[in-house]
Subunit: 394 residues, 2 copies
């Protein structure tokens, strides 16, 4: 067999882990309680409404649904996103400020492609979304990490980082119910972040797939809504509020950036799925997505409560954990335990799965953290799983 290794780009690192595939496999094992994949609860996905909407959409739009459309994405869907989803985050936008993406994950990829040369500095939270590290990695950025507390990124650390690295390309943040920590950036910090980015002339990448999953019906204004200087690239998605399988996300940014996204999108995969864009459009016309989100958030809140209560009840003294106000994730710090090494035993002996926090630190280190996703399991399963984890840690 032809050896491809001499042909590969220097951007590829062979080996590496397939942690995401492993988590998906674990989630399919019915014997196992998986806190792994950050995935919506299957029972909350609107199967019948989407099926009905699809039939209506085919009647209304016909062959248009099965053909090419164009790289920006459907104009009426972009209009809906601007007026219905972004307006709720205080963002003033029109359809022209938006490009449809194949999930907001693609936004990270296109940002890397548009902005990063080998060795460019970017600032990320510690911990940060592991999927972002995975996507940025082939572009060989130099990561500068900024610590977090209960209000999000620490602004004194951020300022020091910017002062020391004025050529930073962008600051990457997941401000709402962060994956993996569950932490939400406070309004005050959001304002400070925008002020610092402006002062140092650095872009902000606001990755907000979870922003509508708040448990207290309060929405924090998006970072993009606090800036009028075109500094913020805002990424959003239907994946967590409606369906990840349709693969429809978006970017909202200043006009020059949207034009570049369109071109990069054309080169990457020509366009997102026409069929599911029309399905969504019809679904959104026929159904009340705000109500669905509200109902779902009640369910996720119960699961969060089950998770946090069980953690409080059962964990030994060397474990600390966050209490998220929304989203899918709790974050554990387990003093003195290497959670990556523990995972195999967790799966094989305790019959639970989790994501070791290690993959969330761009510059490595911090082997003693765990991401727990509580979104997919019923409260009694969550409690059972947390108790198994507690036994394992004792």
């Amino acid at each position: 067999m032809f050896d491809i290794r001499p042909k590969l780009t220097s951007r590829i690192e062979l080996g590496g882990s397939d942690v995401v595939e492993q988590m998906f496999a674990a989630a399919r094992d019915p014997e196992l309680i998986s806190f792994g994949a950050g995935v919506p609860a299957p029972d909350l996905l609107p199967v019948e409404a989407m099926s009905r909407a699809t039939v209506r959409a085919f009647q209304t739009f016909g062959a248009t649904m099965l053909n090419y459309d164009g790289s920006y994405g459907l104009q009426p869907l972009r209009h809906y996103i601007a007026t219905q989803r972004l307006a709720g985050l205080n963002i003033q936008a029109s359809a022209d400020d938006i490009c449809i993406l194949s999930g907001s994950q693609q936004g990270l990829d296109l940002i890397a492609r548009l902005f990063l040369n080998d060795g460019d500095s970017i600032i990320v939270e510690a911990p940060t979304y592991p999927g972002a590290i995975n996507t940025f990695a082939p572009f060989h950025p130099r990561y500068i990490t900024v610590g977090m507390d209960a209000e999000g990124m620490k602004m004194d650390e951020l300022e020091a980082a910017l002062r020391a690295n004025p050529d930073t390309k962008f600051i990457y943040t997941v401000p709402d119910y962060q994956n993996p920590s569950g932490i939400t950036m406070s309004l005050e910090r959001r304002r400070k972040l925008v002020a610092l980015a402006r002062q140092y002339g650095v872009l902000i990448v606001e990755d907000s797939p979870y922003c509508e999953l708040g448990f207290d019906n309060e929405k924090m204004p998006a970072i993009r809504s606090l800036d009028d200087n075109g500094l913020v690239i805002h990424l959003g998605s239907f994946s967590k509020i409606l369906s990840p399988g349709v693969r429809i996300g978006w970017v909202c940014a200043q006009a020059d950036i949207i034009k570049l996204f369109r071109r990069a999108k054309e080169a990457a995969d020509f366009q997102s799925c026409t069929t599911t864009q029309y399905m969504l459009l019809q679904y959104l016309q026929d159904n009340d997505l705000d109500q669905l989100i509200k109902n779902n958030n009640r369910v996720y809140r119960e699961r969060r409560d089950a998770c946090v209560d069980a953690l409080a009840d059962s964990m030994p003294g060397n474990v600390r954990f966050t209490r998220p106000d929304g989203g899918f994730f709790c974050w554990l710090t387990v003093d003195g335990v290497n959670t990556s090494e523990l995972l195999m035993r967790a799966i094989q002996t305790a019959r639970i799965a989790y994501v070791p926090g290690e993959s969330a630190f761009a510059n490595g280190g911090d082997h003693n953290t765990i991401r727990l996703s509580f979104s997919q399991k019923e409260p009694h399963e969550i409690k059972d799983g947390i108790h198994r984890l507690a036994e394992l840690l004792k």
Copy 2:
């Protein structure tokens, strides 16, 4: 407004044309006869069958259709592709040899990401698919172009190119009813291509979205079927035979390459659309795609005939054209005319649109060629349009 230019990667070239968007816009103008976009005929897309299949799919697969699945793509769909589509091209493959992509366009992008460093040499046909040039461009390859005749890539030129550039990363070819020239590579040349690639230790990228669109019910064996050494990366797609809007294509290659594709795919957009993968799966179970392709090819054949007959009837003596045995495209050479400069007059005065061939030459030059797509129009419109083009050229 914040000036993003200092932040951009050196891979970006600002400016540049939006010829694809222009072609889509032209196609929407009902007054205009567009030979621009290479798009299936809307009336041949199976709207009702797909709508019925979707309802059944939602009944059968439920919430699974709306959730994440994984980066390889659905196993049963990969099995179908291996046994039903690739087997017809003589390719021996199983589901494990395949990764689902968001159209075969994404395959080009992932290949560039996996194999190209700045300045790496790749060999492409002259002319070649403009979308490939667009996708490879940010990776700054050094293009070596090889001319074509009626049997495809000229093998003596290819051999000379390989001898002069033994470090070539891959040879890129669209062997079937090529976009843009309509030319099909002969079996003898396919064998020679594989022998040369093996001799020089170079990969082959076989980009074959049109391979099943032959007008004579003959299928040429895929280049991948002629190699048993893992040299060939084969790209295919449902876009031209069933629906481009579902955005489902595939790559078939040796195991090491498929593993790398999966990782690159996860970083790029996590996975292709779960929803349309299940829709296709159900459609393919309930319907006879081979029969649909056969029926559609009869229609495309009539349109090819209308196009070629009208060209023969009306074109002045300085025009030569190809007679494709399948696919969507005729290729014109117009001695002494700059077809890029002529396009505005074609649109505004003659009320027709085409793709100037210039964009199909990786190293520039050749301003005197035209790609005509005959797939979307009825024979009488095609004749009308060709006569208008002939008047313009006279």
